[in-house]
C-alpha cells in the first residue's frame, strides 16, 4: 500500500460527496454523503491496520525527478500509528455525524422546509470538509519534506476554520472561527518563517537534506528557525500561551468536529513538533528540553486549574484537552532533556516518548468518547450547561456509562491504559533520581494528574449520580439514538481493549519510535 493511495481515497471521497450531492438531494437522502465518508475512513483504516500488522518497512515515494525541490511522501510506523488514530476517530465522527447533523439542521433558526435548511446549513459540504480535514492530518504525518507538510498543514487548518465556524448563524461560532483563523495563521506564518530559514540553510526542504545540515551541528539561525517552528506548530497543538483560541473554537464547532479537533487535530501539532524537533534538529544538539518541559508544565497546570470551574461541558473538555497536551509535551521535554544531558540513557528517553505517544492514543479515545457522549446530551437536553445536565445518567445509561469509561481513562485510573501512559512518563521522570529538575517536574506532573482526576470524577459524579436540579426537567429524556450510540460504544470498548492489549500496542509504539530515535 502506497501513502498516495490513502490520500487519494480520502480526497476522492471528498470530491465524490460534492459531485454526487445533487443526486443525493434528488433521492432525498442527505445521509448518503455521510455513508461515503464512512466508507472512505473505514477503507483507509483497514489499509493502515493491515499495513501495521504486516509490519511493512518504511517507504518513500518521490514525485518527479530526484532533485532537492521535488516533493515526496513517506510511510513509516510513526505515520501509520498516527494515521490509524486519525482515521479511526474520523470514522467514529462520520458515523456519529449522520444522525447528529440532522439535529443541527432541525435547530437552524429558520422556518424554511428541511431541504432548504440543509442547503442553508451547508450540510452538503460538511462531509467534504471532514474528509479534507482528516486528509490534511494524515498528509502531515506522511509528508517527507517541509513543503508537503506545510501544504497538508494548511489543508487541515482551513478545513478546521470552516468547520469551527460551520454553525454560521450563531455568533459564537463565527467569533470562535475568526479567532482561530487569526491565531492559527499567525502560527502558520511563524512556522513558514522557520521553514524559509531552513531552506536558506539547506537549499532543500526534504527532511533528509535539512537534517544533514542542522542535525548534529547547528548555528543561531537554525536555533531561531527551530524556535519559530515550535511556536508555529505549538499554536495548533494549543500549548500555553499559544492556546487561547482553543477554548472558544472547540466548543463552538458541531460536536463530532469538537471530538476531532480536541481528539486528534491538536495531536498533529504534537507530531509536527516531535518530528521536526527530534528527527530533524536533534535534542542532543539544541537544548530545547528545559523549554519544552517548561511549556508542558505551564500548559497542564494552567489548563487544569482553569478547567475546574467551567460551567459549559464542552469548554470544560476543551480545557482538559490543553492539559493533556501538557502531559504529552512534558513527556517529550523529559525525553529531550534526558537525550541531551544523559546521552547513555536512550532507553529512559524512549520510555518517556512511549508514554507520550501512548497518551496521544489514550487522549484521542477518551476525549473523542467524551465529546461524542456530550453531543448526545446536547441532542436530548439542548444545553451545554453542566448544571442542566446534572443527574442525566439514569436517563441515558449507555451514554453515561461509556462517558464514564472515557473519563476514567482520561483520569488515569488503573488499570485503564490512561493510567499506563501517565505511569510511563512518571517512571521516566523518576529514572534519574539525582536530577532535581526531572524530580520536580515529575512531582508537578503527578499533582496535575491528581487534580485532573478530581475534576473528571467530579464531572462524572454530577452527570451520573446527582439529583437533577430542575424538578422533572429531565423526565422525558431518553437514551441517545442508536446510530450515535454505536461510535460511543465502540470507543468505550476500544478504551478497554487497548488496556487488555497493552503489550502489542506498546510494541507498535516502540517500532514507531524507532523511526525517530533510530
Amino acid at each position: 500500500m502506497e501513502p498516495l493511495n490513502i490520500i487519494l481515497i480520502l480526497v476522492g471521497a471528498a470530491v465524490a460527496t460534492v459531485i454526487l450531492d445533487p443526486v443525493f438531494r434528488k433521492v432525498r437522502l442527505i445521509e448518503l454523503s455521510g455513508v461515503i465518508a464512512c466508507i472512505a475512513f473505514l477503507s483507509t483504516l483497514v489499509l493502515l491496520v493491515l499495513d501495521a500488522v504486516a509490519g511493512a518497512p518504511p517507504r518513500i515515494i518521490i514525485f518527479g525527478p530526484d532533485s532537492p525541490l521535488t516533493t515526496s511522501l513517506k510511510l513509516d510506523m510513526l505515520s501509520i500509528y498516527l494515521s490509524i488514530i486519525f482515521s479511526g476517530l474520523g470514522l467514529m465522527a462520520a458515523i456519529y455525524s449522520i444522525r447528529y447533523m440532522l439535529f443541527e439542521v432541525e435547530h437552524l433558526p429558520l422556518d424554511d422546509p428541511f431541504w432548504v435548511k440543509v442547503r442553508e446549513l451547508g450540510l452538503d459540504r460538511y462531509y467534504a470538509l471532514l474528509l479534507t480535514l482528516i486528509t490534511g492530518m494524515i498528509g502531515v504525518t506522511m509528508a517527507n519534506d517541509f513543503f508537503t507538510l506545510y501544504v497538508f498543514w494548511e489543508l487541515m487548518a482551513i478545513s478546521s476554520y470552516s468547520l469551527v465556524a460551520f454553525r454560521k448563524w450563531s455568533w459564537e461560532a463565527v467569533e470562535a472561527g475568526f479567532k482561530y483563523l487569526i491565531m492559527s495563521t499567525l502560527g502558520s506564518l511563524a512556522a513558514l518563517l522557520g521553514i524559509a530559514l531552513l531552506y536558506g540553510l539547506a537549499g532543500s526542504l526534504r527532511f533528509d537534506a535539512v537534517r544533514a545540515v542542522v542535525f548534529g551541528g547547528g548555528n543561531m539561525a537554525a536555533a531561531f528557525s527551530l524556535a519559530m517552528i515550535m511556536v508555529g506548530f505549538g499554536v495548533t497543538a494549543a500549548i500555553v500561551p499559544f492556546h487561547s483560541w482553543l477554548p472558544d473554537a472547540h466548543p463552538a464547532a458541531p460536536t463530532p468536529i469538537s471530538a476531532i479537533l480536541s481528539g486528534v487535530v491538536i495531536k498533529t501539532g504534537v507530531y509536527a513538533m516531535l518530528w521536526s524537533m527530534f528527527k530533524i534538529f536533534g535534542p542532543a544538539t539544541y537544548g530545547f528540553g528545559p523549554a519544552l518541559i517548561g511549556l508542558g508544565i505551564l500548559t497542564m497546570s494552567f489548563a487544569n486549574i482553569a478547567a475546574i470551574m467551567q460551567t459549559d461541558i464542552k469548554r470544560f473538555l476543551a480545557y482538559s484537552s490543553i492539559a493533556n497536551i501538557g502531559y504529552i509535551i512534558t513527556g517529550m521535554g523529559l525525553a529531550a532533556h534526558i537525550l541531551r544531558t544523559y546521552p547513555s540513557e536512550v532507553g529512559l528517553a524512549a520510555l518517556a516518548l512511549t508514554g507520550a505517544l501512548l497518551h496521544v492514543l489514550n487522549h484521542a479515545l477518551g476525549k473523542g468518547l467524551s465529546f461524542l457522549s456530550t453531543g448526545c446530551y446536547i441532542l436530548r437536553v439542548n444545553s451545554r450547561e453542566i448544571e442542566r445536565l446534572e443527574g442525566i445518567g439514569p436517563r441515558m445509561p449507555a451514554t453515561t456509562a461509556s462517558l464514564g469509561i472515557g473519563l476514567l481513562n482520561l483520569a488515569g485510573v488503573p488499570p485503564l491504559s490512561g493510567f499506563w501512559s501517565k505511569l510511563l512518563i512518571v517512571s521516566a521522570g523518576l529514572g534519574i533520581p539525582s536530577d532535581g529538575l526531572m524530580l520536580a517536574v515529575t512531582i508537578i506532573f503527578i499533582v496535575n494528574c491528581i487534580v485532573a482526576a478530581g475534576y473528571y470524577l467530579w464531572l462524572f459524579q454530577r452527570l451520573a449520580f446527582k439529583r437533577p436540579m430542575l424538578d422533572g426537567g429531565l423526565k422525558e429524556i431518553s437514551e441517545a439514538p442508536a446510530l450515535m450510540l454505536v461510535p460511543i460504544l465502540i470507543l468505550a470498548a476500544a478504551c478497554i481493549l487497548i488496556t487488555i492489549m497493552l503489550n502489542p500496542v506498546l510494541q507498535f509504539i516502540r517500532s514507531a519510535l524507532e523511526v525517530i530515535l533510530g
Binding site: F178, K179, I182, M183, L186, G187, A190, G218, N219, M220, A222, A223, F224, L226, A227, M228, M230, V231, G234, V235, V240, P241, F242, S244, W245, P247, D248, T285, Y286, G287, F288, G289, P290, A291, G294, L295, F302, I305, A306, A307, I308, M309, Q310, V451, G454, N503
Partner: protein, 666 residues
C-alpha cells in the same frame, strides 16, 4: 504448532463457567427457566472438560503438562518481571479438578429444585458459576499469583453466597441465621466474617508468595521444586519461612486453627452453597495448596533442614483442629453446624495426614491418604449437606430440636443421610473407612503417637456426633406435621452422592493403588519408598473400628433408642454443665476474637472518624476544594475573549521561547 487437546480442556474448563456467569444476567432477560437451565448446562460443560482430562492419567505422560501464556511483563522490575499464566496438569490437579466439577454439577442440579422461586436467583447462578470457574482456576494454576486470583475469586463468591439472603430478616431467623444468642448472626454478618477472617490468612499467603518471588525469583510450582539450589545459602532460611506464611492462607481458607471460626457461621448461606463451597470444594483449597507445596517442601528439606517445620506445623494444626472441632460438633444444636464442625474436623484429618506423611518414611501412603480422604469427604459431606437442605426445608427450622421422626416421611433422604453418615464415621466398607485407616496408619508409621491418639479420639467423637445427628433428626417423636419427601430433582443428586460414598468404599483397594500409582509420579523419584507390610497392618483397622464402636454405641443408645435423657444428667453435674457451655461457646475463641479484635477495631474506627476524619480530613478537603475554585476563577480571567490580548500573549510567549531556545544553545 498444533495444540494438543488437553490444552484446550484445561483452559476451557474454567473459562466456560466464567462465560456462563457473565451470560447469566443476559439470559435472565430471556426467561427464568432459560437462565436456570443454561447455568446448569455451563457447569455440565465444565464437568465434561475436566472429565476429558481423566484419560491422561492412564496414558504414558511426562508430568507435569503445562500450557503457558505471557501475562504480565514488567521489564526491569526487580522481582516478577515476567509473570506467565499457565495451566498445570498433573495427577493431583486433574483429580482435584474432577472432584470439584462433578460435585459442582450435581449441586447445580440440586439447586434447580432447592432454590426454585427465590427472587435473587440471577445473582445466585452468577456466583455459583463464577465460583466453579475460580475454583478450577485455583486448582489448575501453575503459579502462586494465578492461584491467588482463583483463591480470592472463590473467597469473593463465598462471601456473596454466604450473605445471599442479605436482608437479614428477623422472620427468617429459623432458616437463614446461624447460631443461638448470644452468638446468633445474620447472613450478611456471616459473609463479612468469612471474608475478613480468610483474608487475614491470605495476607500471609501473599507475603509468602512475594518472599518466594524475591528470593527464589520464581512463583511457578514446577520451578519452585528446585528453588533451594539457586538461593544463596545465607538466605535459604527464608524458604521455609515463606512456606509457613503461605500455610497461613491455607489455614484461613480451610478453616483450621486458629482461623476456624468463620466456617461454622458460614452456614447462614443456602444449603447448596454450604455443600459446594463450605464442604466439598473451597475449604479443601487449603489442603490442595499444602499438597501442592508438599513435594516442594520435601525437596527443600534436603538442603534446608528447617523445611520439615512445615510438616510439623501442618500436622499439629490439623490434629488439634480435628479434635477441637469434633468436640464442638458433639453439642451443636443446629443440623448444619454439626456438619460444619465435622467438615473442619475432617479437613484437620487431611492436614494431619499430609503433615505426618512428610515426616514418615512412607511418604506416598500419607499423601494418598490425604487426597483419598479429601475425595471421600467431598462426596459424603456434599450428600449430607444437600440432604440437610431438604431436612431443614421440611422441618422449617435449622435447629435439631425442631426435627425428629422424619425417617418415615422422608425415606430417600433418610437412607441417603444414613449412607453418607456411615461413610463419615468410617465404617467398613464405606470409603471413609479406607481413607481414615490410611491416615491413622500414616501417623503411626511416622512415629507421631500423640497425633495418633488425637486422631483416634477424633474418630470416637465423630462416631458419636454423627449418630447423634441422625438420631435427633430422624428418630424420636415427630415435631412437625405435614412433612413430605423432597422433590426428585433434589433427592437424585444426594442419593447419587450417598451411593457413590458406598461404591468408592467397595472399590477402595483398587482406587487406592490407582491413586498411589498416579500421585507417586509427581513426587520426586527419591521419595518413593517401598511400601512394606508392617505388623501394624491389622492394628489400625481394629483400633479404628473399636473407636467407632466406642463413639457410636452410646450415641445410639442415647439418641436413637432414647434410653437415657442426657440433658438431665448434664444438668445435675456442675462440671458437665461447664463443659457443655465451653463447647457450645466454641472454647470462647470466637468470643475472644470479637472482644479482642472486632469490637475494638470498630470502636477505633468510630473514634478516628469522629476526630480525624470529620475534623482534620474534612477540613483539608474543604480547603483544597475552596482553594482550587478560587484559583480556577482567577486563572479563568486570563481568557478575556479579546483577540488582541490573545495575540499579545502569543507574541510574548514566542519571544520568551526564542530567547530560551537561543540560550539553550546550538
Amino acid at each position: 504448532m498444533s495444540i494438543e487437546p488437553w490444552v484446550f480442556y484445561a483452559w476451557a474448563c474454567w473459562i466456560i463457567p466464567v462465560i456462563g456467569a457473565l451470560l447469566t444476567p443476559l439470559l435472565a432477560k430471556l426467561g427464568e427457566r432459560m437462565r436456570d437451565f443454561s447455568a446448569v448446562i455451563f457447569s455440565l460443560l465444565a464437568m465434561l472438560m475436566t472429565l476429558s482430562l481423566l484419560p491422561l492419567l492412564f496414558g504414558d505422560v511426562e508430568w507435569p503438562l503445562r500450557s503457558q501464556v505471557s501475562w504480565v511483563l514488567l521489564p526491569g522490575a526487580p522481582i516478577l518481571s515476567e509473570i506467565r499464566a499457565g495451566m498445570l496438569l498433573d495427577p493431583l490437579s486433574i483429580i482435584m479438578a474432577n472432584v470439584v466439577s462433578v460435585i459442582s454439577f450435581l449441586i447445580m442440579v440440586y439447586s434447580l429444585g432447592y432454590m426454585r422461586g427465590d427472587p435473587g436467583l440471577t445473582r445466585y447462578w452468577f456466583f455459583m458459576n463464577f465460583f466453579i470457574a475460580n475454583m478450577l482456576l485455583l486448582v489448575l494454576a501453575d503459579n502462586l499469583i494465578l492461584m491467588l486470583i482463583g483463591w480470592e475469586g472463590v473467597g469473593l463468591c463465598s462471601y456473596a453466597l454466604i450473605g445471599y439472603w442479605y436482608r437479614d430478616s428477623k422472620e427468617g431467623w429459623l432458616h437463614y441465621w446461624v447460631g443461638e444468642p448470644p452468638e446468633a448472626y445474620p447472613p450478611s454478618h456471616c459473609g463479612m466474617k468469612a471474608f475478613i477472617v480468610t483474608r487475614f490468612g491470605d495476607l500471609f499467603m501473599i507475603a509468602g508468595a512475594l518472599v518466594l518471588a524475591a528470593t527464589a525469583k520464581t512463583i511457578g510450582f514446577p520451578e519452585l521444586l528446585h528453588a533451594d539450589t539457586i538461593v544463596p545459602a545465607e538466605m535459604r532460611w527464608l524458604l521455609p519461612a515463606a512456606l509457613i506464611m503461605i500455610l497461613g492462607g491455607a489455614v484461613g481458607k480451610s478453616a483450621q486453627l486458629p482461623l476456624m471460626e468463620w466456617l461454622p457461621d458460614a452456614m447462614a448461606g443456602p444449603s447448596s452453597v454450604s455443600a459446594l463451597i463450605h464442604a466439598a470444594t473451597m475449604v479443601k483449597a487449603g489442603v490442595y495448596l499444602v499438597a501442592r507445596l508438599f513435594p516442594i517442601a520435601l525437596s527443600w528439606s534436603a538442603s534446608v533442614p528447617a523445611a520439615t517445620s512445615f510438616f510439623y506445623a501442618v500436622m499439629w494444626i490439623g490434629a488439634l483442629t480435628a479434635f477441637i472441632a469434633a468436640s464442638q460438633a458433639v453439642v451443636s444444636t443446629e443440623l448444619k453446624k454439626v456438619l460444619a464442625y465435622s467438615t473442619v474436623s475432617q479437613i484437620g484429618y487431611m492436614m494431619m495426614a499430609l503433615g505426618a506423611a512428610g515426616l514418615s518414611a512412607e511418604i506416598i501412603t500419607g499423601y494418598v491418604a490425604s487426597i483419598f480422604h479429601l475425595m471421600n469427604h467431598a462426596v459424603f459431606k456434599a450428600a449430607l449437606f444437600l440432604a440437610a437442605g431438604s431436612i431443614i426445608h421440611a422441618a422449617g427450622s435449622r435447629f435439631l430440636r425442631d426435627m425428629g421422626g422424619l425417617r418415615k416421611h422422608m425415606p430417600v433422604t433418610f437412607y441417603s443421610t444414613l449412607l453418607a453418615t456411615l461413610a463419615l464415621i468410617g465404617l467398613p466398607p464405606f470409603g471413609g473407612f479406607w481413607s481414615k485407616d490410611l491416615v491413622l496408619s500414616t501417623t503411626l508409621s511416622s512415629g507421631q503417637y500423640a497425633i495418633f491418639i488425637l486422631g483416634l479420639s477424633t474418630a470416637i467423637l465423630t462416631a458419636f456426633y454423627s449418630i447423634r445427628m441422625v438420631g435427633l433428626a430422624f428418630y424420636g417423636g415427630e415435631k412437625s406435621k405435614k412433612v413430605h419427601e423432597a422433590p426428585r430433582i433434589m433427592w437424585v443428586p444426594y442419593l447419587i452422592l450417598a451411593a457413590l460414598s458406598l461404591i468408592i468404599g467397595l472399590v477402595a483397594p483398587l482406587l487406592e493403588s490407582g491413586l498411589e500409582a498416579a500421585l507417586s509420579r509427581i513426587l520426586p523419584a527419591y521419595m518413593h519408598s517401598a511400601y512394606e507390610a508392617s505388623s501394624m497392618e491389622l492394628l489400625v483397622p481394629l483400633t479404628s473400628v473399636t473407636a467407632i464402636a466406642v463413639g457410636a454405641v452410646p450415641a445410639y443408645a442415647l439418641y436413637v433408642r432414647g434410653m437415657v435423657d442426657l440433658g438431665e444428667i448434664v444438668e445435675k453435674h456442675g462440671y458437665m454443665r461447664a463443659l457443655r457451655t465451653l463447647l457450645i461457646r466454641r472454647y470462647y475463641i470466637n468470643t475472644f476474637y470479637y472482644r479482642a479484635i472486632a469490637y475494638p477495631s470498630i470502636k477505633l474506627g468510630h473514634a478516628i472518624n469522629k476526630v480525624f476524619e470529620s475534623r482534620v480530613i474534612e477540613g483539608i478537603n474543604n480547603a483544597i476544594s475552596i482553594g482550587a475554585r478560587r484559583l480556577s476563577d482567577i486563572v479563568r480571567r486570563a481568557h478575556t475573549g479579546l483577540l488582541n490580548h490573545y495575540v499579545i500573549g502569543l507574541i510574548l510567549g514566542a519571544l520568551i521561547l526564542i530567547i530560551l531556545i537561543l540560550a539553550g544553545g546550538a
